[in-house]
Structure formats: C-alpha cells, structure tokens
C-alpha cells in the first residue's frame, strides 16, 4: 500500500511562516525595519516631488507661460544697447501680442524711507517708471491701496513692490494720519499702494513704481523703456518671442533680449525631478541594505532552527515545504516592512505637504509599486536562506543539538 505524497496546504505554509516571526517578534521587527525605511524613503520622495510639482505647475498655470519680457540687450561690441522709445508702440502692433507694458529703471533715483538714511544704504531697491497697464500684464494684484492710474501718474505718488514695502518699513496704509511718504531721487513721494508678490517679475517686488509723467518731470527720465512686459496669445508665444527682438529695436535686432520668466519656474521643475532621481537612488540603497539584513537574519534563523527543520522533516515535510516555509517568512517580513514603510512615507509626505500648503498627492503606482518592491526584495533575500534550510539533511539536523 503506497503512502500518499507529502502535501502542505497554502494556508499552512503561511501559518508556518509566521511561527518563527511570532516567536521572535523583536528580531522580526528589526529585520523588517530596513525594508520599511527604504520604502518610506521611496514613497516620501515620490509623494513630496509629486505634491510640490503639482503646486509649482498650478503656480505656473495661474501665472501663465505667455508672459514675455523684452529688456536691453548688448550691442555687437559688448556695450548695453538701449531700447528705443517707440519700442512699446511697435510691440503692441505685433500679431499675437495681447498687452504690453513698458517699465524703465530710474538709475539715478535712489529710494529711501527718510532723508536721514545714509546714501549708500539703498537696501537694493530701485525706482522704476511704470505704466498703469503693468498690473494687468503681470496678472498682479494690489495688497493695499491702489495702483497707478492716468491721474496719479503725473503726481509724486508711488506704488511699492512687496519686498520694497517691507524693506522700507511701510507696514500699511490703513493707519490714521497722513499716508506714508518715501524719498525717491530727493523728492517726497506719497505711497498710494503696495503690491502682492509677483513670482514672474521679482524685480518689481523690489521696486518703487512711479508714473512715466512724474518720472519725466521730477526724476530725469529720458523716455527709453528698459524692460517691456508682454502678454501674448497663449498659442503663439513662441512665434511672438521670435518677432519681439527685431520689432523692439529694428536698427539693432540683437539689442533687445527676449525672455520667458515662466521658464525659470519650469527649470525648477526639472531640478526637482533631478533631485528626485537622487533620493530615489538613496531609497533603493536603503532597500538593498534592508534586503541584505533580511537575508542575514534568515540565515541565522536557519542555523538556529536546525532542530525545528529536522523535526518538520521527520513529521513529513519535503524539502520544498521547508523552503516554502522560510520563503513565506521572508515574504511576510517584506510585506510588514513594506506596509510600515508606506504608512511612514505617506505620513511624512502629508506633514510636509501640509506645512507647505500643497495638496497631498502620492502616485498610486508608488504605493502599490512600493509594496510590490518590498515583497520582491524580501523574496529575493529569502531565496538563499530557504535553499539552505531545504538542503539541510534531516538526520544531521536532528543529531547536532
């Protein structure tokens, strides 16, 4: 009468796999820790990158990629080329240009809070002449007060950029009494408004803006713009960008430099992507180390559990059953570590996203992929110990106690 072949139910493979873990909980936790750290790093990096990218993309979207600036370029002999006074008018005629707003830096006019400030202490601020249309072109908004308009452009009235207001100590316009004044080019200017930050035009943040009229009458403005902001039809930005240089300065087409401020934000995206690759690499190293840790612990477990292996063989376990048991143990460790890593990585991302006011975004593929990677790493790590356990001769395993 032939005995049936030895069989082990899949549920019992799992149960046998947890026996060793239940008996040595502390060690199981420690050996799963490596995998957990690796997965946490991977998930957090993916999550933080995705969340910050989406925040950045939203910002770019909101600001628009259709803003171009035309500034003074260089002449062929390396000197700064000035834009001609008619440049703005010419630019407004280019097909695809929706709006254009000129500004001019008033190099000789320094900005001070009072006349008692030492002259060299400019605080890095500049006075610029600006057109009332500037705010619309930059999609900016006024924090307090009003922007320049056709009337105030002719009078000593200024609107401060966000940083400029902070540097000058102009906290607000709401306080009772006369409105604050600042000294520009030796003349007192009344502060009519303060702007919100302009991510696409940081130079405006650090400027005191005055009207072209008053710039000409009080501050010696020569009528030449130094920087023109151009809003284009979204679909024709590239064509318009190619035309702006020759249009702004037909006599010297190289004398006008055209740039796209949103390109800087896009570049930040690329930088973020590059550092993501670096951190993902670090996470992968942590995973590798975690896998080696599991392999190490499992090899020790196999040596320690020779008696159990011998006993199970005596009870009827085939080699494959012993291998399956130890492999299951490794896989369970991997799954535990992976799950803990997912939880940790998600919490880290949530905390950071919250502190930066980002929407919490973690790629779903990152979550499932993380768990799969953890289990795969642990499985590979478990192969060698499982093979060793299976190879152990039962009689020898029982004898060497």
């Amino acid at each position: 009468m032939t005995a049936p072949r030895s069989r082990l139910r899949p549920a019992d493979v799992l149960r046998a796999g947890t026996t060793g873990l239940r008996y040595r909980r502390g060690r199981a936790l420690l050996s799963a820790l490596g995998i957990a750290i690796g997965i946490a790093a991977l998930v957090a990096v993916l999550g933080i990158t995705r969340s910050s990218q989406s925040a950045l993309l939203a910002e770019i979207d909101q600001l628009g990629t259709n803003l171009l600036t035309v500034t003074n370029g260089q002449t062929l002999d390396g000197h700064e080329a000035e834009l001609p006074g008619y440049a703005t008018t010419m630019i407004r005629r280019v097909a695809g240009v929706e709006q254009a707003a000129p500004t001019a830096i008033l190099a000789s006019a320094r900005v001070y809070r009072t006349g008692k400030v030492p002259v060299f202490d400019t605080g890095g601020l500049a006075a610029r002449a600006a057109d009332p249309s500037l705010l619309a072109v930059l999609s900016g908004s006024v924090r307090q007060g009003t922007f320049l308009n056709a009337a105030t452009s002719r009078y000593p009235v200024t609107v401060l950029g966000y940083q400029a207001a902070r540097s000058l100590g102009v906290a607000g316009l709401d306080s009772p009494g006369p409105p604050p004044r600042v000294l520009i080019g030796g003349q007192w200017f009344t502060v009519a408004g303060i702007l919100n930050p302009l991510p696409l035009a940081p130079e405006i943040d650090r400027s005191a803006l005055v009207g072209f009229g008053v710039a000409g009458s009080l501050l010696g403005y020569d009528g030449r713009p130094s920087r023109i902001y151009v809003r284009t039809d979204v679909t024709r930005t590239a064509q318009v960008a190619a035309l702006l240089g020759p249009t702004a300065n037909p006599e010297n087409p190289g004398g006008a430099a055209v740039s796209q401020p949103s390109a800087a934000l896009t570049a930040r995206l690329a930088v973020a992507a590059a550092s993501t690759a670096l951190f993902l690499g670090l996470g992968a190293v942590a995973l590798l180390v975690g896998g080696i840790g599991i392999a190490n612990v499992m090899v020790i477990a196999v040596l320690e559990r020779r008696a159990e292996i011998g006993l199970r063989r005596a009870l009827g376990a085939a080699r494959t059953h012993i291998a399956a048991q130890f492999l299951a143990e490794a896989l369970i460790l991997g799954a535990l570590g992976g799950a803990a890593g997912l939880a940790a990585g998600t919490s880290i991302t949530a905390v950071i996203a919250r502190s930066r006011h980002w929407a919490l975004l973690i790629p779903a593929a990152g979550l499932w992929g993380g768990l799969a990677v953890a289990i795969a790493v642990a499985g590979i790590a478990g192969l060698y110990p499982a093979a060793r356990a299976a190879r152990l001769a039962p009689a020898e395993a029982l004898r060497t106690i």
Binding site: M1, T2, A3, P4, R5, S6, R7, L8, R9, A11, D12, R15, A16, T19, G20, R22, Y23, A307, E308, G310, L311, R312, R313, A314, L315, G316, A317, A318, R319, T320, H321, A393, P394, A395, L398, R399, I401
Partner: protein
C-alpha cells in the same frame, strides 16, 4: 485503502485491519548498511536484517556508538541506506522521491525523540496537530484529532499550555501524542526516557506499553537502558552496527551467513 486510527473507539483495533496488512511487516530491513564518507569512513550500521510485525513492541538496546540512532533514522525514512533495502509498511524506500519519502514519514511513521523536540512557539495541541500538517488535513480537523490524542495520553487538561509550562514527562507525553496523531504503521522512539528522571521514565514506558497492548501501536524503542528494554516484548541487541541478539526474531528473518 485508508484506515484511520480512532482513539475513541472501544472495539479491538485488529478488527478494522485487513488480513493482508497483518501479515505484511510494519518494518523490514535486509542487510542494511550505512557508511558516511570520510577518512576513515564511518560505518555505524554494518548489515542489519530485521523485521517488525504490526502490533509488536521491540526494544533495540546497545551501548552508545552501536548504531542505534542511525538505525532509527534509517527506519524513519530520514536517511537512505548505503546498501541493503528498507521497507516501511510494505513500501521500499529506495525508489521513492524526496516528496514520496516525506509522504511516507507523514503517513506511516511516528517518531519520539529523547529531547522531545516540541516547538516552543506553539501550544501542546498545536504541537500535536503539526504531525498532520503534511497530510494536508484542514486546521480544524487537525486540532480535533490533536485534542483526542492529548486526552489519550492523559493531557486533556493541558491543551493550551506551551512546552515551557509543562514538566519533562508532560512534554514527552505531548511528543507521544504527536507521534500517534498521524496513525502511523510504526512508532519509533529514540531514548524516550533519556531526559527524564527514573519515576517519570517508568510512567512514560508504562504509557507506551499500554498503547501497544490496548491499541496495537507498533513500537520500536531504542534505548541503552536495560530496564527500559525489559519493558518490551522483544529485545534486540546491537553492537558495532550489527544485531548480536534478538529475543523474538520472527521466522524467516534469520541473518544470512556472510
């Protein structure tokens, strides 16, 4: 042809066993040798021929180094002989794959060790149930059988205790219950009293004798203790890997002249 050992049954065990199985030996060794390579090679078993019939209780005695443990491993299907043939419950070991040999151990052989070899992480009932793991019996049924077996060895009140919480004698009873749980054709015991004090050892031998007498369990007890050997109905003495005496050799198994 599957017969299941039913401990609850009061009827005689033989009643359920067909005649053919009564005649086939539970264990049959013919000129079995085992050599371990090395310099010089070690040969703990040097031509043993022996036959154990169902229902027998046999003591294999001999000093240490006489090949007792190797003989146990060979008869338990844990090792294969270098030469000669081993048959367990009528099945030749030589032709079996690892999986089939494991099946033979799971279904036909129960082993009791000197060191008990209970799994510390598991309770008594789980330890006994582990003997049925490799027969792929569902967990609930395994537990049921294990409970019955522990009742049988007098540990019905200790089902959920861990091995650490049991005395040596109790641990060996758990091991005996485990060896019987799979309803094996033969139960092999390697120095079952070796780790116990004399009184407990006598209790364990009495339990084994009772199981043999009342339930027809075929038992081979390996021991170096003459008093333990005397408890068996038949004594075989080993020396230097050979049988030097056999008190009740069944007919037809006389050693062939070399």
């Amino acid at each position: 042809m599957k017969r299941r050992f039913r401990p609850g049954l009061k009827t005689g065990v033989y009643a359920a066993i067909p005649m053919t199985e009564l005649i086939a030996p539970a264990l049959s060794l013919r000129d079995v040798r085992k050599t371990y390579p090395g310099s010089p090679p070690v040969e703990p078993v040097r031509g043993i021929t022996l036959r154990v019939m169902p229902g027998e209780m046999v003591a294999v005695a001999g000093p240490s180094g006489s090949g007792k443990t190797t003989l146990l491993h060979l008869t338990a299907g844990l090792e294969r002989p270098t030469s000669g043939t081993v048959q367990i419950a009528g099945q030749h070991l030589a032709a079996l794959s690892d999986r089939e040999l494991a099946g033979l151990r799971a279904w036909r052989v129960g082993v009791i060790f000197q060191q008990f070899f209970l799994l510390d992480a598991l309770s008594a009932v789980e330890n006994v149930a582990a003997a049925l793991l490799y027969q792929a019996i569902p967990a609930a049924r395994r537990r049921e059988i294990a409970t019955t077996m522990l009742d049988l060895v007098g540990l019905g009140h200790r089902l959920w205790h861990r091995p650490r919480e049991l005395s040596g004698g109790e641990q060996q009873r758990v091991a005996i219950a485990r060896a019987l749980a799979g309803n094996p054709a033969v139960v092999l015991a390697d120095e079952p009293t070796g780790n116990l004090d004399q009184a407990t050892g006598q209790e364990i031998m009495a339990l084994l004798g009772e199981l043999n007498r009342d339930r027809g369990v075929t038992l081979v007890v390996i021991t170096h203790d003459a008093a333990v050997a005397a408890a068996a109905g038949r004594q075989i003495e080993l020396r230097d890997g050979r049988v030097v005496s056999d008190s009740g050799r069944p007919p037809g198994t006389e050693r062939q002249a070399p």
